[in-house]
């Protein structure tokens, strides 16, 4: 993997291995915060900042951290970055801090971040890890903005707070609720799959064991999955 050019690693995260729409990671914050495009942007950028920090630090420490304690070490590092980001948001962007609410501390358990630490940062150098973090973070952010834009436009008739659909037209308020999140999520996954297929790159059919962050260490993986 280390032979890939850094640019390719960066671009990988945006479409081909988009964490949300192809790897289907981080679904919970994706569905929860995207009722408004601006929340999607905020969540995406916050997660990107955490991902960038944790990927760099974990990649730097990849030779120092013993295998036995790597998961707790990663969690401590990630939690540290999340707390720092939430302090900074609370101080400088309180409105976004309010809007993200519970989902901000939950970035700690966002699979994308731990997943990239396991799958990429602990096997690659600092620069490659940083590129991977930026790519994945942008992929996450773009997916969230996409979902947020569609849901906000259809559900509230606005886009980033600007009114697009005249108020006289009844909006579909279901789009701002959880079911609308699932509708848009499903449609976007289908769209990305269609794009990848047209390009002749078959998307991953199953997530399976190879998609699992633990697959490298898991003894069951070779035997065809968990039992």
């Amino acid at each position: 993997m280390s032979k890939q050019s850094n640019l390719k690693i960066l671009l990988n995260g945006i479409i081909k291995e988009n964490p949300v729409l192809v790897l289907i990671l981080g679904t919970c914050p994706t569905l929860a915060v995207t009722s408004l495009a601006v929340n999607g942007l905020g969540m995406g950028l916050a997660a990107t900042a955490v991902l960038l920090g944790s990927n760099i630090v974990i990649s730097l420490l990849r030779k120092v951290i013993p295998d036995k304690v790597r998961i707790p070490s990663y969690i401590v590092i990630i939690a540290g970055f999340v707390t720092i980001v939430s302090f900074l948001l609370e101080a400088y962007v309180p409105s976004l801090y309010e809007a993200l609410g519970l989902y901000l501390p939950l970035i700690v358990v966002n699979c994308i971040i731990l997943g990239r630490a396991e799958m990429f940062a602990n096997k690659n150098g600092v620069v490659a890890s940083a590129c991977d973090a930026i790519g994945m973070g942008l992929g996450f952010t773009l997916a969230l903005i996409c979902m947020g834009s569609i849901r906000e436009l259809l559900g509230s008739g606005t886009w980033f707070g600007m009114r697009i659909i005249p108020e006289s037209i009844q909006t579909m308020s279901i789009m701002t609720l959880a079911p609308g999140g699932f509708f848009v999520f499903g449609c976007l996954i289908a769209l990305v799959n269609a794009i990848l297929m047209r390009k002749g790159k078959k998307p991953k059919q199953t997530v399976g064991c190879s998609g699992c962050p633990m697959s490298g260490k898991c003894t069951q993986a070779a035997e065809g999955g968990c039992k």
Binding site: L61, V64, I65, P66, K68, V69, P72, S73, V76, I77, A79, G80, T83, I84, F87, L88, E90, A91, Y92, P94
Partner: protein, 325 residues
């Protein structure tokens, strides 16, 4: 060596990571705390300024501990007035009111900042439009503001919290004020009648049962002096069973002289308000049911009552010949 590699190094590494991360957190916390505090303070000041127009900055006032429902009290630093918060037990839990007073103790604004009251009933008092009805009131006349019907308990709690707020104002400002007591209005009860009792209440002179069924109404009673009659009518209320049963009394001109409930098993506190005298007595003096509006929140029960009385009004045309004009 195995011990060191398998046990000691992981522990040391994890401990060091934890320490470094904690250190970074401490630094960030120290750096951002003043900004966060300032923002929170500004937000709290802005919230307080909602109930005290013209206010800019506040300082907290130490309070004696014996005031019931006291939460906090703030003095506007330029002497514009005071903002106090008081709580009282509502229907679903404590309600918390933030109340602004000018320097003379007149209410400048009331805002309910916390409640768990029933939506559509008690929660109506949390709307700003209700709080505005108290603006300009003082400790002596705040009890004159009407509560909201259907939300008796919340309305009472609201006044109780206001009474605590006046106490807080008095303690914070040093101006002693006479706070008028919140009087408990007796809760109106749903009184059910037997058919005989209802007849006696409506036509004191005594009645005789009419021997025929009139327009499917089985029980019709004619006054002994033939000046009036009563009919026992039913309709389906909010529940399928039992039916609402009413005794409707009418005089010789077809004017309703009274409606008494016999069976009235509507939801307590909601539909059963329709069976109470304050609602049913609105029909007295009417010849049709058009003039009486449904009770908010109890539309089904109100309409059932209307339907039952309609039956009596229709049937009256068929039996009015029995009465002495």
């Amino acid at each position: 060596m195995k011990f060191v590699k398998d046990f000691l190094i992981p522990v040391i590494v994890l401990t060091v990571i934890c320490l470094v991360v904690s250190g970074a957190l401490v630094l960030t916390y120290q750096a951002t705390k003043p900004i966060i505090d300032e923002a929170k303070n500004a937000e709290a000041n802005a919230a307080r300024a909602v109930v005290l127009p013209g206010a800019s900055d506040f300082e907290e006032v130490e309070l004696p501990s014996d005031i019931e429902g006291a939460v906090d009290a703030y003095r506007e630093t330029n002497g514009v007035g005071y903002v106090v918060t008081a709580s009282a037990a509502g229907y679903g839990g404590d309600i918390k009111l933030m109340v602004g007073f000018d320097a003379n103790g007149t209410i400048t604004g009331v805002k309910m900042i916390e409640h768990q009251e029933t939506p559509g009933f008690g929660a109506k008092l949390a709307e700003d439009s209700y709080g505005e009805t108290y603006v300009g009131k003082t400790a002596s006349d705040y009890t004159d503001v009407d509560g909201i019907s259907g939300a008796t308990i919340t309305s009472k709690a609201y006044k109780k919290a206001l009474s605590s707020a006046f106490e807080l104002y008095s303690a914070a400002s040093g101006n002693s004020v006479e706070i008028s007591e919140v009087v408990d209005e007796p809760e109106e009860e749903l009184v059910l009648y037997t058919v005989d009792d209802a007849n006696a209440a409506l036509i004191p002179g005594g009645v005789t049962k009419y021997e025929q069924e009139v327009d499917k109404i089985k029980e019709v009673y004619i006054a002994n002096d033939k000046s009036a009659l009563t009919m026992v009518v039913t309709a389906q209320g909010y529940h399928e069973e039992p039916l609402i049963r009413l005794v409707v009394g009418m005089d010789a001109t077809g004017t309703i002289i009274g409606v008494k409930p016999v069976d009235f098993a509507e939801t307590e506190g909601i539909g059963d308000r329709v069976g109470k005298p304050s609602y049913l007595d609105q029909y007295i003096g009417q010849t049709t049911t058009d003039g009486v509006e449904a009770l908010g929140g109890a539309t089904v029960s109100s309409n059932a009552v209307k339907k039952a009385i309609d039956k009596a009004v229709d049937a009256f045309e068929l039996v009015k010949g029995e009465l002495a004009a």
